[in-house]
Amino acid sequence: MNRKLNTREIKQLLDRSAAQIDKNTLEKLASARRTAVQYQQTTQQAPVLAWLTQHGLIHSHSTHNRKVWNFGIAALLALVLLGGGLYWQHAYEHDHSDIDIAILTDDLPVDMYVD
């Protein structure tokens, strides 16, 4: 009779099976896991950082280096965002097109508003 196993039962079965695996296979599995984890860490690197590393522009193998680069890129992006924000604020303040069109199409002539 087939019955569905719950998560706990599956875990128990896997633990039991793992206990029966020989030492050599366990070592290979552990090695494969280490490689997979290392690969994941590499691919999770910031895209810009990964690109720079790939093209040999930086050598950020150490965690310290990576932190410095991450901080640098974050600061650069923050600056770009700040600059963009300031630009839009400036553009908004200097956009008079609404009122200019209203004046230029008003029933009253422009000279009514000009000194």
Binding site: Q44, D95, S97, D100, P109
Partner: protein, 134 residues
């Protein structure tokens, strides 16, 4: 630090959206046919306008197609005059317009009627209307 890559991607996208996409000034020859049509009265003086003025007029040109025929006609008639005003004069005109917009509607209508009557009288007596367009 592992969260940062995703943060970078998001920030990069945001930064791209923040890049200035507004209409920059351009020589008359570089304008689109639609912009040229909207800014036709300025064809002769366009290249001598300041960058700020060109940007302002390009913003106006963008909205030109949405105006009705009468508004388009008025805009064309007054555009040249508007471009010859000093920045300070335009600033004052905007302030006056804003102030006048806050006046009760009845008063505004009365003033408009009075101005129209004046214009009719001037036209009837052969006096040239004010140079700043109608």
């Amino acid at each position: 630090m592992r969260v940062l890559p995703r943060v970078f991607q998001t920030l990069l996208l945001l930064a791209l959206f923040c890049l200035p996409l507004a209409a920059f000034s351009a020589p008359w020859e570089a304008l689109t046919p639609q912009q040229k049509e909207a800014l036709a009265p300025l064809s002769g003086t366009w290249n001598s306008l300041s960058e700020v003025q060109q940007t302002n007029f390009l913003a106006i040109a963008k909205r030109y197609p949405k105006l009705n025929a009468q508004q388009q006609q008025r805009l064309h008639a007054r555009m040249q005059t508007w471009s010859t005003l000093t920045p300070e004069q335009r600033k004052r005109a905007r302030e006056k317009y804003k102030a006048f917009s806050k006046v009760p509607k009845e008063t505004r209508e009365a003033v408009k009627k009075m101005v129209q009557e004046q214009q009719t009288n001037q036209a009837a007596s052969g006096v040239q209307p004010a140079a700043t367009g109608h």
